[in-house]
């Protein structure tokens, strides 16, 4: 009875929140529902026939969850999904109440929630998931979360309280995540990349932004037979012998097609399938592989997984294309060093002399500390980018970073106003070219909000 009241109240709040443009109504309704009916998340998720899938990690949560959503739909399952990326408990609760009847019955088959890394223990307790997908851990927002080892500890605790029937699908290639996953005594499903193409991938040396360089068991420097991105790859400790677990779900034969997407072959528990995706960059190959592992853990078959992955379109701001006054802009969210490096590589793979717009904010959701800009390898833009428009609250810091990266001052344009920055970027384009927009999280939301108001895109909560 109380749940029914909470659902109705939350719905009213969601409608009101959108009406006054306070946002997408993605967190307030959930907060309200949890206040009226404590424990509502557990009661609603307990009534989902296929249970709950949680996705967590520093990079790729939104896209992996979206890919899983595509797979579930291809398999005839209706997911209840925090699609807009509100990934704290309030966001999960909001998604649940928005898709439940006034009587408190969820209208869906499976809960699909991306979860903030820090929130994973609380989300596990609240939803009792059947599958947890662990993607990666990179330095990100250190001012907010503290150190990545602290998050790894929280994850270990979260896995310790999982139902015995649950499966943990984890990334073999990330030494920290593998260390967390390996210690889990319940069911696991390991995923990873068997090879990695192009100029950088397939390297044996780590880039600067790599975090987990030293063995989690004995402290010795890992050796890599293959580095894929950041500190991920085929690692091995020469001292104690700990090595990357053998993945049961893995991608091979990877071909990156610039900004257009990628082709890959997936080994899926004994079946080998080839597919192509419109999601660009190697990080999205990881996301697709992770989604495949999560879906396999929930019992979906290979054909369904391929259909779902093929049909998945980029999430807002993550490879999303927007046409502005006849010119195309490609949004590639870039919020931490490892992610930013991959985005830069993807841009340079797509275009010989790209025009790039970099938007750096330092609000709480971005991390107030922008020191990380110095961990990104902007040096690779030096001889390649034709023009770089710099905008955002910390545009001045970004300009300084580019100066020390050796980018000629004449190629850098600073413009604090979002719209004028977009115009200057578009003005530098030649026929047939697109503008590459690389924003931090809140910069992406703010630019997107501007484009929504001007009618170029629809609100993120409608997607």
């Amino acid at each position: 009875m109380r749940d029914a009241a909470a659902v109705v109240a939350a719905r009213v709040a969601a409608t009101a929140s959108r009406a006054v443009r306070a946002g997408g109504g993605t967190t307030l309704p959930g907060r309200l529902a949890m206040a009226i009916a404590p424990g509502i998340v557990g009661r609603l998720t307990a009534r989902l026939p296929r249970g709950v899938v949680l996705v967590s990690g520093t990079n790729g949560k939104t896209t992996t969850a979206r890919s899983l959503s595509g797979i579930f739909e291809a398999g005839g399952l209706a997911p209840i999904h925090n699609r807009a990326g509100a990934n704290l408990l309030s966001g999960i609760a909001s998604a649940l109440v928005a898709s439940s009847t006034s009587g408190g019955t969820p209208r869906g088959d499976v809960g699909l929630f991306e979860v903030d890394e820090f929130t994973l223990p609380a989300a596990v307790d609240a939803t009792r998931p059947s599958v947890v997908v662990l993607l990666n851990l990179f330095r990100d927002q250190l001012d907010r979360y503290g150190e990545i080892d602290i998050i790894a500890d929280r994850w270990r605790r979260a896995l310790g309280s999982l139902p015995v029937s649950a499966t943990v699908a984890y990334n073999a290639d990330d030494p920290i995540v593998a260390d967390v996953g390996r210690a889990h005594t319940g069911r696991t499903l390991v995923f990873g990349l068997e090879d990695a193409p192009d100029h950088r991938h397939g390297a044996r040396t780590l880039e600067h932004a790599a975090d987990a360089r030293y063995c989690y068991t004995c402290g010795r420097l890992y050796e890599y037979a293959l580095v894929t991105l950041g500190h991920m790859g085929q690692f091995r400790c020469p001292q104690c012998g700990v090595r990357r677990p053998r993945p049961e779900v893995c991608a091979s034969g990877i071909r990156l097609r610039g900004a257009a997407g990628a082709e890959l072959t997936l080994e899926l528990g004994g079946t080998s399938v080839s597919l192509s995706t419109t999601l660009p960059g190697l990080y999205n190959v990881y996301n697709a592989t992770a989604a495949a592992a999560g879906a396999l853990a929930l019992g979906l078959d290979a054909a369904t997984i391929v259909r779902g992955l093929t049909a998945t379109a980029p999430a807002f701001g993550r490879g999303e294309r927007v046409t502005i006054e006849g010119r195309e802009a490609l949004f590639l969210l870039a919020k931490n060093p490892a992610g930013f490096n991959e985005v830069l590589r993807t841009v340079l793979l797509a275009e010989q002399a790209p025009v790039v717009l970099i938007a750096i904010n330092d609000l709480i959701a971005d991390g107030r500390d922008i020191s990380w800009l110095w961990d990104v390898d902007f040096e690779i833009l030096r001889d390649r980018a034709r023009a770089i428009v710099v905008t955002g609250i910390r545009a001045e810091d970004m300009v300084l970073r580019l100066k020390y990266a050796g980018v000629a001052a004449g190629r850098i344009m600073m413009e604090k106003d979002w719209w004028r920055a977009l115009e200057r970027g578009r003005g530098a384009l030649r026929d047939g070219e697109q503008l590459y927009v690389l924003p931090t999280y809140t910069a992406m939301l703010q630019i997107r909000d501007l484009l929504t108001r001007k009618g170029y895109v629809s609100g993120f909560w409608k997607q």
Binding site: L142, D143, Y214, G219, D369, W374, R394, A395, V399, Y404
Partner: protein
């Protein structure tokens, strides 16, 4: 003329964009036609006190600091003492700063013994204590010049009589959030909680370190002034995020 830099633990104590400091030292020397030689000293490497004139050590998470501390004492300590006593410049940031003191007492586990190169000790007041996080502005003690940056530390540092504070906190926390001091200086050894890319936005400190290091072998060197327009703009923007004076004040 050659600037000889030694970067300690570049792949271990490298949290928060610490390498921006090395990039700044190198570029600012090169822009003036000064050659640069960079040596990287990792775990297991011994260092030669006479081979470099400028030493940099960055910050790390607790785990990395635990890995670095015994190695620092055994393989780098005596050389660093000798280098510092003979006029070499040392810049230590955040975790590296703590390791130059007598000890770091974490919230759990045994003390990490430091180098005692700076007369200070650091204590973490426990897992419940709040971390000192945020944009920070200080005024350097001798020149009054501004330093801007970001701090993020759990440990509280207190100075002994043989170290003087690097500066006075204008906005932020500093050494311990209580006595308004920030950082520590002894001879040309500088320690600070302003982590990550401290030198890019504070080029005067970069030049001070370069000048000090060069003096060790080349006598007093006058460094050509650089335009530093982008540096000033970034420093001013950062100061305004810390909520302190300097930047243009907008009417409300």
């Amino acid at each position: 003329m050659e600037l000889r830099i030694c970067h300690l633990y570049p792949d271990l104590l490298n949290l928060y964009g610490d390498r921006g400091n090395i990039a700044t030292l190198i570029r600012r020397a090169q822009w003036r036609g000064i050659e640069v030689r960079l040596v990287e000293a990792r775990l297991g490497d011994a260092i030669d006190p006479d081979a470099s004139d400028l030493y940099f050590i960055g910050g790390g998470e607790d785990r990395q600091q635990r890995l670095a501390a015994p190695d620092l004492r055994a393989l780098k300590g005596p050389a660093l003492h000798r280098a510092a006593e003979t006029g070499a410049a040392v810049l230590a940031v955040c975790g590296g700063y703590q390791l130059l003191g007598h000890y770091y007492r974490p919230s759990d586990g045994p003390d990490l013994e430091g180098l005692s190169l700076l007369d200070l000790a650091t204590v973490h007041p426990g897992p419940k204590a709040k971390r000192l996080i945020g944009n920070i502005v200080i005024h350097e003690a001798e020149s009054g010049q501004m330093l801007v940056g970001f701090e993020n530390h759990g440990g509280r540092t207190r100075l002994g009589p043989d170290a003087r504070p690097l500066g006075r906190v204008v906005a932020g926390f500093g050494n311990n959030g209580e006595d308004r001091t920030e950082g520590a200086v002894w001879k040309a050894v500088f320690g600070t909680y302003l982590h990550g890319p401290l030198l890019p936005k504070n080029p005067w400190l970069a030049d001070l370190l370069i000048g000090t290091a060069l003096r060790r072998r080349h006598g007093v060197v006058t460094l050509t002034p650089l335009p530093d327009e982008e540096e000033r703009r970034a420093a001013s923007a950062a100061a305004s995020r810390a909520g302190s004076g300097t930047p243009p004040v907008r009417a409300r």
